[in-house]
């Protein structure tokens, strides 16, 4: 276990998400740089190239015109003229006759293996003891003459070299900056993640009280930390719900179990007749039923307190639910000669858990009917007031003293006056849990302040969405 909980080593370089992000960025950056270079290239080297081709084409056409006008001799003269005036030393000419003999030009011999009339080609060229590139165009003339016109491209080759060098350097720079950036980003990410990791590890090791420290930057990491903290709060609430149920079981189920056990034991030892024994067993079963009822109520309270039932929330018409419950309990009030009054709106829409709301109201009505003497009044009302839905149950019973009111919502509270009334003492505690689940609260007041008895008014107030 401790080995598994040990801090995981930082991810290897390629496993590191930060590094991969940086790498991705670097690739995108390189592509952008590549596109830039391509455009630059097209605008410079490409332009020179196009100029060269245009010059060769114009030169060739002029020479062909000259051949047409003045014949081969005129052409030879023209070529020699051009060569003699070529101060930049970039022109290349060669004119041969049908036998391949050189008539004019500055190429030493006819190059081998070139294609026919109209072809363009590039070739290496030696001159001045150096090698350069040349672009050459071939045209065939009437009378078996073949003409090559070309330009030296050393200038463009120079540009190519310069640009390639520049590109190589900038590529190196991109890689360097990218690598440094990647490691910076990776370290920064790891530094920002460290608190969350440490917290998670602490929690995995059992320390549920830990929380992720949240900085004031409100960035993604703080959002993650805050979300984690909210999740942890929720888990802790659930855990404490479970814990409080087990506490309640330990403390409060023992008493009725001990009571039932005592009764059964006593019957076993002291019952004189089978009839007595049978009665004791029946009583024991009733006690057990009561215990499982308490158990059920505890589970429901825990469910509501932990908010586990929020998943069961649905839109509902509170008025319909309440009139249902009223109809259900009205019969009981009538059987006890109590007046049962309702005052419900036509419709009261709410988002909530129907079953739990119903049970909360049922608990309130049950209590009210139980504690109201015959001839008394029980009133169920609901209203919507300033974004708050209020369900109130009033009775004309003895009411609660202010000190009892404070404890009334605690589990297993039973006012001394009600010790002899059946009930688990969990009713109001469930009502409070249900109210809290719906984001609301429970209020206890005198139903008729100043009167004796004052009666009790319990209201459940829940904010409307």
């Amino acid at each position: 276990m401790s080995e598994r909980l040990a801090r995981p080593p930082p991810p290897r370089l390629l496993q590191s998400a930060a590094f991969r992000f940086a790498l991705l960025f670097m690739v995108i950056f390189s592509v952008a740089a590549g596109l830039l270079v391509a455009v630059l290239w097209w605008g410079t080297a490409g332009a020179i190239d196009r100029q060269t081709v245009a010059a060769i084409r114009a030169d060739t056409l002029a020479l062909m015109d000259r051949h047409r006008d003045a014949g081969p001799l005129g052409l030879v003269e023209s070529i020699e003229d051009r060569m003699a005036q070529d101060a930049e030393a970039v022109t290349i000419y060669l004119l041969v006759d049908s036998d391949g003999r050189k008539l004019a030009g500055n190429l030493e011999h006819w190059p081998a293996g070139i294609a026919g009339d109209g072809t363009w080609f590039r070739t290496e060229l030696h001159h001045d003891g150096a090698t350069s590139e040349a672009r050459i165009h071939r045209r065939d003339l009437p009378g078996g003459l073949r003409l090559l016109v070309g330009r030296d491209e050393s200038e463009r080759t120079q540009l190519d070299i310069v640009m390639a060098e520049g590109m190589a350097w900038s590529l190196g720079a991109i890689l360097m900056v990218g690598a440094i950036g990647a490691s910076l980003v990776r370290n920064a990410l790891q530094r920002r993640m460290a608190p969350a990791m440490l917290t998670a590890q602490g929690i995995a090791a059992g320390d549920l009280a830990r929380r992720v420290p949240v900085s004031l930057r409100h960035d993604e990491f703080d959002q993650l930390g805050a979300t984690m903290n909210a999740m942890l709060d929720r888990i802790e609430a659930l855990m404490s719900g479970v814990r409080s149920v087990s506490d309640a079981i330990a403390h409060d189920l023992r008493t009725p179990i001990a009571r039932a056990r005592g009764k059964l034991e006593e019957a076993l030892a002291a019952a004189r007749s089978e009839e007595r024994l049978r009665a004791a067993v029946e009583e024991g079963i009733a006690d057990l039923d009561n215990i499982s009822r308490i158990f059920q109520a505890l589970l429901r309270i825990a469910e509501a307190e932990a908010g586990a039932r929020r998943a069961a929330f649905a839109p509902l018409d509170l008025s319909a639910v309440l009139s249902d419950a009223a109809e259900f309990y009205e019969a009981m009030a009538e059987a006890r000669n109590q007046h049962f009054e309702t005052s419900l709106p036509e419709q009261l829409d709410l988002v909530g858990d129907r079953d739990l709301l119903l049970q909360a109201v049922a608990n309130l009505l049950d209590n009210a009917i139980k504690f109201t003497p015959p001839g008394g009044v029980v009133r169920l009302s609901a209203r919507c007031d300033a974004g708050v839905a209020e369900i109130a149950v009033e009775d004309s019973g003895p009411g609660l003293s202010p000190s009892d009111r404070e404890r009334a919502l605690d589990r297993f509270f039973r006012a001394d006056v009600s010790r002899n009334t059946p009930g688990s003492g969990l009713g109001l505690s469930l009502v409070r849990a249900v109210a809290q689940l719906h984001g609301g609260e429970v209020r206890l007041e005198d139903a008729q302040p100043g009167f004796t008895p004052p009666g009790l008014r319990v209201s459940l107030r829940m904010p409307l969405p």
């Binding site: 079963i285 057990l288 039923d289 499982s292 009822r293 059920q296 109520a297 589970l299 429901r300 469910e303 039932r309 998943a311 069961a312 249902d324 109809e327 259900f328 309990y329 019969a331 009981m332 009538e334 059987a335 079953d355 119903l358 049970q359 049922a362 608990n363 049950d366 009917i369 139980k370 059946p422 009930g423 688990s424 009713g427």
Partner: protein, 226 residues
């Protein structure tokens, strides 16, 4: 009825089996889901009583889903220690017909088994229910006894309808709470008794033969006095 009981707790299984046999049913018992599924799929039963949580990989919900997937429509009653409403919904969604939370009184179990097992086989809609001289018209929603019209409230009508559909069978308070009011919680006091006795007063007023009978430690039953 021939009933298959799938329950892993030996003591609960023994006591349920004994009780059902005493009520005149034949009971086969399987201690886990795998055997239960095998028996349910290979033999013919009138009813399955299933524990929801079973050892051996196949739990009650899986078992029912598998059976329903094979087109087996045998009625299923779940027994479960899981009491939350969601759990009940899950069980019924899987194809269960009823859901009983442990711990339960045997009378409750028996009443539910008989109510499930004797459901009308034909789905042909019934328009009139009759017990002795009491008649319930489902279309006009009227109640008459010996031709004399009796006024009942809508909820009382549903209560009577449920009792009459199960005439001659015990219907427990919890069953009424669930089926007539659709309440799945403990009302703590015997509100149901109040409703039944109010209905009883309306029906029996002026007649000497009572129709709704209280069954001690179990619930209510409507039947012609025999």
């Amino acid at each position: 009825m021939r009933i298959l009981l799938v329950e892993d707790d030996v003591e609960v299984a023994r006591f349920v089996k004994k009780g059902l046999q005493e009520a005149g049913h034949t009971v086969e018992h399987a201690p886990n889901g795998r055997e239960g599924l095998f028996l349910a799929a290979s033999e013919s039963f009138d009813m399955l009583v299933l524990d929801r949580m079973l050892p051996g990989g196949v739990d009650g919900v899986r078992l029912v889903e598998t059976l329903r997937g094979q087109g087996n429509r045998t009625p299923v009653l779940f027994l479960s220690a899981l009491s939350a409403v969601d759990e009940r919904v899950k069980g019924l969604k899987a194809g269960g017909d009823d859901y009983l939370v442990k711990p339960f009184a045997f009378a409750e179990l028996l009443a539910r088994v008989e109510a499930l097992g004797r459901r009308p086989s034909s789905e042909a809609p019934v328009t009139k229910l009759r017990v002795a001289d009491l008649e319930l018209d489902l279309l006009s929603r009227t109640v008459t006894r010996s031709g004399k019209r009796i006024d009942v409230q809508p909820r009382e009508f549903r209560l009577l309808e449920h009792l009459m559909r199960h005439a001659g069978q015990v219907v427990t308070r919890t069953m009424l709470l669930e089926k007539v009011w659709d309440y799945h919680f403990d009302p703590q006091t015997n509100v149901i008794d109040v409703h039944v006795s109010r209905l009883r007063q309306k029906l029996d007023k002026g007649f000497d033969k009572p129709l709704i009978h209280t069954v001690r430690n179990a619930g209510y039953m409507i039947r012609a006095e025999g």
